[in-house]
């Protein structure tokens, strides 16, 4: 089984996210970088599927040269191939990104055959557009289900489970197919030391991106007003007990 996972380099935020003076970026002076938790889960799911069925996991990103760090992290947790689609800014809009990724994937598949599955995170951790996966699938003319909380593949059919307010939805997709994975589908592993060292040796394929500028444009970033804390200290030590009881009664926990 051949699985491709698309990831995106994003800042690993602190408790408070600082924005650069021009309002165009997150201030990353003291931040590390990562991928979204959804994408970590997508990589993990791909690795588990390959562990079960055999095959290989390729990881792909469109981003600056530094995004190799995220590719190598994915390799250190089980991916074996890595593709960088380098751009000279931090981010492209979703339409342009999807077009570029689809073009690169087509090229890869032309050379090596089709991927059974192409996985995305449900949405990116920074811009949260929910778009790139769906647009890419559309361009590749493949089915996609987003929000996957379960994913199995048997006999050329991917079974995707997703949760909704109404209950659980089960989809069956004929491969090749695309799936947007949601955090919680699994517990992703951490890189091991050996994995990390092996990832240093992996050759990262570079594919020149093509894509027309799309319609979404970042105007400015703004931090929402900080939520006022509703925490009220009821007291400390044994003296607090009666206040706690009063509150629990008020909330209807005690009757």
């Amino acid at each position: 089984m051949k699985i491709l996972v698309c990831v995106k380099r994003v800042p690993a935020p602190g408790a408070r996210i600082n924005i650069t003076a021009d309002g165009q970026q997150v201030d990353t002076a003291f931040l590390g970088f990562t991928v979204s938790p959804h994408e970590e889960c997508a990589v993990e799911q791909a690795v588990q599927l390959v562990e079960k069925h055999g095959g290989e996991v390729t990881v792909l990103t469109l981003g600056p040269a530094e995004a190799q760090e995220q590719l190598r992290t994915a390799v250190s947790t089980g991916a074996v191939k890595a593709v960088l689609v380098p751009i000279d800014v931090d981010d492209w809009d979703p339409q342009r990104t999807a077009q570029a990724i689809a073009t690169v994937i087509s090229g890869l598949e032309l050379a090596n055959g089709k991927y059974d599955l192409i996985l995305f995170g449900n949405e990116s951790a920074d811009s949260c557009g929910y778009q790139v996966g769906i647009r890419t699938a559309l361009k590749l003319d493949r089915p996609i289900v987003n929000g996957a909380k379960g994913l199995e593949v048997e006999n050329g059919v991917a079974t995707v489970r997703r949760e909704s307010d109404a209950g659980v939805e089960i989809y069956k997709l004929k491969t090749p197919a695309c799936v947007g994975v949601k955090e919680g589908i699994n517990l992703p592993r951490y890189p091991t030391m050996k994995g990390r060292l092996a990832s240093k040796k992996v050759e990262i394929t570079q594919s020149t991106p093509l894509g027309d500028v799309g319609g979404l444009k970042l105007i400015t970033l703004r931090r929402p007003p900080e939520r006022a804390s509703n925490t009220k200290i009821l007291g400390t030590g044994p003296e607090a007990a009666s206040a706690v009881v009063d509150l629990l009664e008020e909330l209807g926990v005690f009757k």
């Binding site: 600082n18 003291f30 890189p191 030391m193 990390r196």
Partner: protein, 842 residues
């Protein structure tokens, strides 16, 4: 929570291991009305304490650091916060095994039980180690892990419970107010608080806070990388926080320390990575904490490979937590403690690691309480030690960059800095360079240690100039020193002493002021001099210097390059405020040449004149200890008949710009006597040790008094002086230790080569190998070691207890983990060479 106060006796800024233990110790010493603040939350405000590895390897070659670490470990034990797990330093390289012998020696000095292990023995204690790649281990069973956060919390809460401390977390310092040179108030986001004392115990933020008051705490935040990997089966099964000894992989500068089911791998091997205190993120903007920054993975990769090599199981363990942790580095790798030199009552307790934290807190608390610490002499941690150029970021970065990778390095006691050289040059430098000087760094000064031009003398004095067989003993040393020594004793030599500090005290109150500062009577005739210790209030050594009386109201203090900063501070701190004394630091205005030897008088008599008159330099007209203003080739100079090498001659002072001319005049006059330039190898070691002269920071420390050092005079002056009461008391008591000169009886090692102790605190032991500890708990150890070429001996200086301080008594010295027989040659200050000082006075 109580309301934010408007005034307090003492405000301690910082609630890491240092600030917390400091308020605890201050409260125990009777301090009341204290306030402690930290900008972060409690119990972990986000500083370096919060992510420390929290282990203690007690052995250190440096006495001060060893004593502070042991005192800390004792406190952790007393609080039940010390988890003894043992620790093994492992060697991958043969030279490391040599270093382990040296560590065994230091461990013996400080009474730390340690032993050397074979690779198989290491494997028995650490079953998951790859013993095939190691050559051996240095095992210390008392190595421990501590809970520094909980220790700090207990200390802080103890002070709160005693009613002497109010604590305010999430309180940020915005400014410090200074009035008339003293700290006045701390401005915080919660309000302004006036305080008599303020202590900066802010770890990596300390420079930033001190700067608000115009004070300088020279340190830089620097990265120490570590990763927590696990779970690991064998560690999980141990079912303990630390079941296996901590392993320090010394030759890769890494450590492996169990934390429950995981292993923490830490490194001092990566490039030095610094951060400016102003650039450290706030608590709010930090993913983990302000001092736990994202790991720069590329820097850590080589260490992972080495770690896996040593413990294969680490390879498959998951990296759960990995950081670029910030800690404090200083230009000389020692803490920064004491009252800041710029602002009165503003104290620094910074650049402190977990292993020495509680001990240092005790030391600083004692210092603030008694005027000087009791625990040990803070000589090499004292904030006032730094010269101006050493407090710059330029210097801090350069030196920290150089020493960071030596954290686990093998550092020779005589090792020289490579960076920040040529900071200060004497006017004689061109001549010295031409004579092939090997320069050693003396706090920025380039000082010749020996001269290649004197190599020919090695043949002349061949018997005394044997090369040293062992590379370690020969490192940073040359047999030329012995040749220079003998040539000086035979004829005459010139020594560059420009690194001296000269402090001028003038004004109507100068004499009275110096009387108060000094033990010995400074009210001598104009043109005379006095040697004197300075004492702490506790009667121990605080300084050691000479003073010339140049006029009724003009005194010149001469002190060494390594104590200039501390002495400058000490005098300044006690200066009267009524304007009756003016202190002028002349150190950069004056240069100094020492001219000594049997032909010194003949040499100088050729060129010294009064104004248009010959000047009689004979002992009769110009006796020992006298100071005279003269002309040398028409240049005004001050000649001071004194010697630190035991020869007839002078220290000659002149203005910097005249220096080269004076040097050339003396060299020309001495030519017929084959005058040579002589390096510090003679002045500071061989010449000095033959005469048994004591040195501040080596023999003379605040733990010892003049009676023990053999420097007490027959009479005590009537004037009061700092430490007088304690000094008088010491004179009444029989000293429990006395400074002695010992000679090595046989310095042949088991492997049959001659060894030469470097003088790095090697223990003096009984014939059966027992440590000698006096009734005050101080251990006998080598304070200085050096050749005595004129005697054909190798000498050691050490304090001994009275029963051992008997001339002729045979003892042992341990060097590199071997015992060598030594004999007490002199008890007290009488020199081994020329005991009656006839050479200096005739």
């Amino acid at each position: 929570m109580s309301e934010f106060p408007t005034r307090a006796k003492c405000v301690v800024i910082g609630a890491g291991i240092v600030g917390n233990c400091l308020v605890g110790h201050l409260a125990k010493l009777g301090w009341t009305d204290m306030v402690q603040i930290d900008k972060g939350p409690l119990p972990n405000p986000g500083g370096s304490t919060g992510h420390a590895s929290n282990f203690i390897f007690p052995t250190d070659h440096n006495k001060e650091m060893a004593l502070l670490t042991l005192a800390s470990q004792k406190q952790y034990i007393e609080m039940g916060m010390n988890n003894t797990c043992g620790g093994i330093e492992v060697a991958r390289k043969p030279e490391r095994l040599e270093e382990f012998n040296r560590r065994m020696t230091s461990a013996k000095s400080w009474g730390i039980d340690s032993k050397l292990l074979t690779p198989a023995q290491v494997k028995e204690l650490v079953p998951f180690i790859n013993e095939k790649i190691i050559l051996g281990g240095f095992y210390t069973p008392s190595v421990s892990c501590v809970d520094s956060l909980q220790t700090g919390t207990l200390m802080r809460e103890g002070a709160v419970k005693s009613g002497n401390l109010n604590v305010f977390a999430n309180t940020e310092v915005l400014d410090l107010e200074v009035e008339d040179g003293a700290i006045k108030a701390v401005i915080t986001n919660k309000g302004r608080i006036e305080a008599e004392y303020v202590v900066v115990a802010c770890g990596v933020w300390s420079p930033r806070i001190a700067q608000m008051a115009g004070a300088n705490i020279p340190l830089t935040p620097a990265v120490h990388q570590m990763a927590d990997v696990g779970p690991i089966d064998i560690l999980q099964k141990s079912n303990a926080e630390v079941a296996y000894p901590i392993v320090r992989d010394m030759d890769t500068f890494c450590y492996e320390r169990q934390t429950a089911g995981s292993m923490e791998v830490g490194s001092y091997a990566h490039r030095a990575i610094f951060m400016h205190p102003n650039e450290i993120p706030s608590n709010e903007a930090s993913a983990l904490s302000p001092t736990e920054l994202p790991l720069t993975q590329d820097d850590f990769d080589p260490q992972m490979e080495q770690a896996i090599e040593l413990m294969e199981m680490l390879g498959d363990a998951e990296i759960k937590y990995a950081i670029n942790g910030l800690l404090s580095l200083t230009p000389d790798a020692m803490p920064v403690l004491g009252e800041t030199v710029e602002v009165r009552n503003l104290w620094s307790a910074a650049a402190v690691w977990i292993k020495e934290g509680p001990g240092i807190a005790q030391l600083v608390a004692e210092w603030m309480t008694y005027g000087y610490p009791h625990l040990c002499d803070p000589h090499s941690s004292d904030i006032s030690r730094f010269y101006a150029h050493e407090k710059t970021e330029h210097h801090i970065y350069a030196r920290c960059d150089e020493h960071f990778n030596k954290t686990y390095g093998i550092v020779h006691p005589r090792e020289q800095w490579a960076s920040q050289r040529d900071m200060r040059r004497s006017p004689f430098y061109p001549r010295e360079e031409a004579a092939g000087a090997t320069f050693f760094d003396a706090r920025g000064w380039e000082r010749p240690q020996w001269f290649a031009s004197n190599e020919k003398l090695v043949k002349k004095f061949a018997a005394a100039c044997e090369p040293r067989e062992h590379e370690w003993d020969a490192r940073w040393w040359s047999p030329i020193t012995n040749a220079e020594h003998l040539q000086m004793r035979e004829s005459v030599g010139m020594v560059d002493l420009t690194a001296f500090n000269e402090f001028d005290f003038t004004g109507s109150g100068a004499m009275k002021f110096l009387q108060y500062m000094c033990v010995n009577n400074v009210d001598v005739e104009v043109g005379r001099s006095v040697y004197t210790p300075l004492l702490t209030p506790g009667g121990g050594f605080r300084g050691d210097l000479t003073i010339m009386r140049l006029a009724v109201d003009h005194f010149r203090v001469i002190t060494g390059a390594f104590d200039g900063g501390r002495d400058n501070y000490w005098f300044n701190r006690h200066m009267p405020t009524d304007g009756s004394v003016v202190f002028t630091d002349m150190s950069s205005a004056l240069c100094t040449i020492g001219v000594w030897g049997p032909n010194a008088e003949k040499t100088m008599s050729k060129i010294v004149t009064g104004d248009h008159k010959p000047f009689d330099v004979s002992q009769k007209n110009f006796p020992y200890g006298a100071v005279r203003n003269v002309l040398i080739g028409g240049v005004p100079c001050t000649m001071f008949r004194i010697s630190y090498v035991g020869e007839n001659g002078w220290e000659i002072y002149t203005k910097m710009e005249h220096g080269l001319r004076i040097w050339d005049s003396i060299a020309a006059a001495g030519k017929e006597f084959e005058v040579i330039p002589v390096g510090m190898g003679v002045y500071a070691v061989t010449g000095r040790i033959e005469k048994g002269y004591r040195l501040m920071g080596a023999e003379l420390e605040s733990e010892y008094n003049p009676v023990e050092a053999g420097l007490a005079r027959a009479k005590v002056k009537s004037a009061d002086f700092i430490g007088k009461a304690e000094y008088l008391k010491a004179r009444e008591e029989k000293p429990c230790a006395v400074m002695c000169t010992l000679e090595m009886i046989d310095n042949t090692s088991k492997s049959g080569i001659k060894r030469f102790p470097t003088g790095g605190n090697e223990p003096i032991l009984t014939k059966t190998g027992e440590r000698i500890v006096d009734t005050k708990g101080r251990v006998s150890r080598v304070t200085t070691a050096g050749a005595a070429p004129s005697l054909g001996k190798y000498l050691l200086l050490a304090y001994l207890t009275p029963e051992h301080a008997v001339e002729g008594n045979e003892l042992r010295v341990m060097y590199m983990n071997e015992l060598y027989p030594v004999r007490v040659a002199r008890v007290g200050s009488q020199p081994v060479f020329d005991p009656t000082d006839s050479r200096m006075k005739s």
